[in-house]
Every structure is written in structure tokens, then in C-alpha cells.
Symmetry: C2
Subunit: 316 residues, 2 copies
């Protein structure tokens, strides 16, 4: 890329993280329309679903169909979450460009979530990478370290443990390692410390920031991550899947607010804010009873706002 | 101060900025109880009211009584807003420790708000300083540059104009010059640029950040200001005076959320978060029909949260 402006990649997780967290199931045609609208707004990486058993997450049972559609959208990196080798096989079969594997830094969370220890999850990741190398070497494998900033089950998660886990994942052969504030316990100082630590531990494999807004620090934490060189940020349109401004919420950072912050700072996101607002309409059509959040959508853009939209980038 | 930790001063503006923005009037005994509760939580600077004609702001007509009470609270800097020389005289008579004069960087806003041009306001400030020097040389005079990051009436506010105004105010003899994002149009890059510019322009007189959360960037903007050396932050308990998460809101940064961010980062605010939550009760008693905001109050503190509360500081 040859942008003069600094730039970031906004990785939209709403169609996976958002849809898995609401009770209602969005019908397939609405999912396809929403993903298309997100792409039309300039988003160039979308986590379109998850390859997990349909009995666990019926909302995402049609992920392979969403992937098929998304693969037709030019310049889009089509991403899916997989919890294990079986999910990875299904994702590879569907033809995704990139998978993300959640690996919890908290033993308690890992056992509760996937009934595996951290070490067992690293073994699983190693098996996924071996499969990828054998059958689909072009597919990117990301590991997302969840509960990296603390865990509601376990409490404190030592930073050294997070970094050891990241190193183990790098050695297991993943391409990128992100850090997730699954429980909304991060703060800007911890974000800077841990992402700097991640860069020291795994170098070029240091990846995305997946931050929540549970206690209002979502954007401040994204800014802190940006300051230390993070350039990929997960967020969810309309904060889908849990009020980002309320108790107990899943509370993903709202894509609209995140894009606004960066664009206002002169950091290119490639996203057109007006078209991003339009994409909310597609989401609303598919889930008419879900509340849509977002402070920029509520307040509107400042009258004299000049976004830093660039020509859409070609490569994913 | 001899703190090993970095520290900040949280300047609570709820009793002035909050109360002036709600329709209901808090009865005097409730105001006194609330100010005492804020002080008990460790806040050491409180803007307790405004010396303006009672016909304009009947909610603050009893400011002199609030000042009298607040002067009895040990270690507290008792602050009041004054719009002009007459207000300053009243504030000096009441015995405040510090006054703040709002001076708009937007001509349109200045004319609409105080029917004076920016230059006329600088003259007014000069007269206030002369009075202070003559009758009460121990009283601190702050000028707060409002609409420093943009104006809903005028649109763009040139940064050079803001800095010229700050220099003029420094020459007029004020002790501190703060910058206010009156309209919620700031972003972290602009905050860093303008506060660094302020420091270059007026040196040690560079003062507080008064930032709003209109578009969700309040805490990110505070972090940005902290990063470039700002150490005094205005905020309002419970975001009183307008939903900080809604359209058209006044939207002061919520004191509870701001204190949480800094304490979580290991930055000493001197404020006890539990006692700050208790002070919300005093606010609620005085204004039972007003909504109280705050993401940390809603979500609760993380289970393993260790605040960085220090022994209460002695000097104001």
C-alpha cells in the first residue's frame, strides 16, 4: 500500500461475534445483504461466521453459505472463526481466506469455553496449522488470545503467561497473534504494555486488537494500541451482540465510533462513514428487534467533518 | 507532592456545569451534602457554582452559600465560574479560592453566549485580573478557552486562533489556561496537537482539559491529553447535565469513568472509587428525577481491581 496517511484495517466481526450473541437468527438473505453492505462501505476484512456445530450456535449454521457469497466480493478477506481442527477443515472446505482460532490465556476460561487446557489448545492449533500446510497453504491462520487482560472466572491473568502463550502459538506456526479483552478489563497502560510485549515476543506475527467497551474504555484502549503500532482492530457494527454501554454486556467496540475516531484523527480506515450508516439499515432489516448502538450514529457527524476516505484498496 | 506514581487532578464540575444544565433546581441542603460527599471521595477541586444573575441561572442562585460551606472542607480548592467582572467581584466577596472565566475561541459562539467578541472578552479578563491583583491577590484566575476544537455555530475554529487567544489571555495575567471541547468535536490527534501548542504558547500556564463525550471519544481524548502532559481534567459526576451517550447531549466526561481509567492505568487520582459511588447517592437524593450515567457504575468494578488510592493530599 502506498498511502501517505497512516492507515488501519478495521476487521468487522459483527456477522460472527454479534450474531452469535443475539437470540434471534438472522435469515440467510439478510446476512448476505448485510455483508455486502459492509463491503460496500469499504470494510476489507469481515468475520462472516463460525464453523461450530449447529446445535451449539444455530444462528451461524449457514456460515458456509455466507462464505460462498462473501468470496464474490472484490478485495474482501473472508474470515471465519474455528474452535478446533474439525472446524478448520470445514472452513478450508468452504474456501475462506483466513481463519481465527480463539485461545484463552485463562485456564479457567479455556476449560469452561472449549473444555481444553491452554496447552491442549496450542496442540489443537498446531494440528490446524499442519492441516493448512498440507491442504490449503494460502489460507491465513490467526490465533486470538482471549481473556488476555483478565478473566471474570480466574481473575488476574499474568502478562508473562499471555506472552508465553503467544510465543507458543507463533512456534505452532500461526501467521498472526491478536489479543482480546474478552471481559472488558483492559486499560490503556496494560494495552500498551501487552502489545509491546507481544511485538517483542513474536515480532511480525503481532496482530489485531480485539477490545471491548464494557467500562467505557474501548476507544481509549484502541488509541493506546494504535500508539504502540497496532494496525488491525476488531469491531462490531452497532455494537451488535450486547450493549457496549451497559452492565454485563459483551460490548464490542462499535465499528462506526471506531472508524470515526480514526478518520477524525486523519488515520485512513478505507471506510466511508455514510455508507457504513447505510449498512446499519441492512442489519436492522435482518434483525428488526435488536437495538443498534453507536454514539456517532446517535449524535451525527460534526457539521464540518472531513473524513479521510481514500480510493478503495485493491488487495485484501 | 511526593508521589512515586504519576498523578492527576480531577476537577469536578457537576455542581456547576451539571446543575446549570438540568431543569430542576437542587435544594441547597442537598447541594451541600453532595459537595461534601464529593470531597469525602477525595476530590480536591470542585466547581461549586457560578456567579451569574439569578434570572439567567436560577439553579445556581445560591452559589455564595455553597461556597461558604465548601470553604469548610479541608484541602478543597473551591472554584466558581464567572462570566465577567461583576461575577468576579461576587466570587471574590464569597471567598472562593479560584475562578474560571470561559472565553470562546469562536466569535459566533462568543457573541451568542456572552454578547462579546473574543477581543472584548480578553479585555474583560484583563479587568478581572486587575481587580484580583488589587483586592484578592491569593485567588487563582483560570481562563477556559471554549469551542477550542470546533463550534456548532461557526464550524471550523482555526488552531492558530485558539493559540493566539491563549497567548492574549496569558498576557492578560491569568494563572492557567484550559481548553474545552464544548461541542464534542475533538479527536485524540487534535487534542495532542492543541495542548502541545498551548504548552509552547503559554508554558507553565497551560492548564486543564475539559472534554466531552458527545461522540464517544471523551476518555480517548483525555488519554491523549494525559499523554502530552496535561494533569488536570474536568469531569462531571454521573455525566450530570446531559446524557454523555446520546444525541445533542452536553455530555461531560463522567467522573466515575475517568477516575476508573486513570486508577486502572496506575495513575493516582486521589479519589476513592467506592466513596465516589456513594456520592452518587447524594446526587440522586437531591435530583431524584435526573438520570445518572456512567459505564463503570453500570458495569461495576472488575473483580480483581486494585485502585491506586493514596493517602489524601494535604494541599489544595
Amino acid at each position: 500500500m502506498s498511502n501517505a496517511l497512516p492507515h488501519v484495517l478495521i476487521s468487522e466481526v459483527g456477522p460472527r461475534d454479534g450474531l452469535q450473541s443475539v437470540k434471534a437468527t438472522m435469515a440467510l438473505p439478510h446476512k448476505l445483504a448485510w455483508v455486502s453492505a459492509l463491503h460496500a462501505a469499504g470494510l476489507r476484512e469481515i468475520e462472516v461466521g463460525s464453523f461450530v456445530p449447529a446445535r451449539l450456535l444455530p444462528q451461524l449454521a449457514d456460515t458456509a453459505d455466507v462464505v460462498r457469497h462473501a468470496l464474490g466480493l472484490p478485495g474482501l478477506t473472508v474470515m471465519a472463526l474455528v474452535p478446533n481442527l474439525k472446524g478448520a477443515q470445514a472452513a478450508f472446505d468452504a474456501g475462506v481466506h483466513k481463519i481465527t482460532l480463539p485461545v484463552s490465556a485463562s485456564e479457567a476460561h479455556s476449560l469452561a469455553n472449549v473444555r481444553k487446557t491452554c496447552a491442549q489448545m496450542v496442540d489443537e492449533v498446531r494440528a490446524v496449522v499442519a492441516l493448512r500446510n498440507a491442504v490449503a497453504p494460502h489460507i491465513q491462520v490467526e490465533a486470538g488470545v482471549s481473556t488476555a487482560f483478565g478473566c471474570t472466572l480466574q481473575g488476574h491473568v499474568p502478562e508473562a503467561h499471555v506472552l508465553d502463550l503467544a510465543e507458543a502459538l507463533a512456534k505452532a506456526g500461526v501467521d498472526d497473534i491478536g489479543l482480546s479483552d474478552t471481559t472488558g478489563m483492559a486499560n490503556p497502560a496494560a494495552v500498551r504494555r501487552l502489545f509491546k510485549g507481544l511485538q517483542s515476543a513474536v515480532g511480525e506475527k503481532a496482530g489485531a486488537a480485539h477490545l471491548h467497551n464494557t467500562r467505557g474504555l474501548g476507544l481509549a484502549n484502541c488509541l493506546a494500541a494504535f500508539d504502540v503500532g497496532v494496525r488491525t482492530f476488531d469491531s462490531s457494527q452497532a455494537g451488535l451482540g450486547g450493549c457496549p454501554y451497559a452492565p454485563g454486556a459483551s460490548g464490542n467496540v462499535v465499528t462506526e465510533d471506531l472508524v470515526f475516531m480514526f478518520e477524525a484523527m486523519g488515520v485512513d480506515t478505507g471506510v466511508d462513514l455514510d455508507k457504513l450508516m447505510t449498512a446499519r439499515g441492512a442489519l436492522k432489516q435482518g434483525l428488526p428487534d435488536e437495538p443498534l448502538y453507536g454514539m456517532v450514529p446517535d449524535a451525527g457527524l460534526p457539521a464540518n467533518f472531513t473524513p479521510h476516505v481514500r480510493p478503495l484498496r485493491k488487495s485484501p
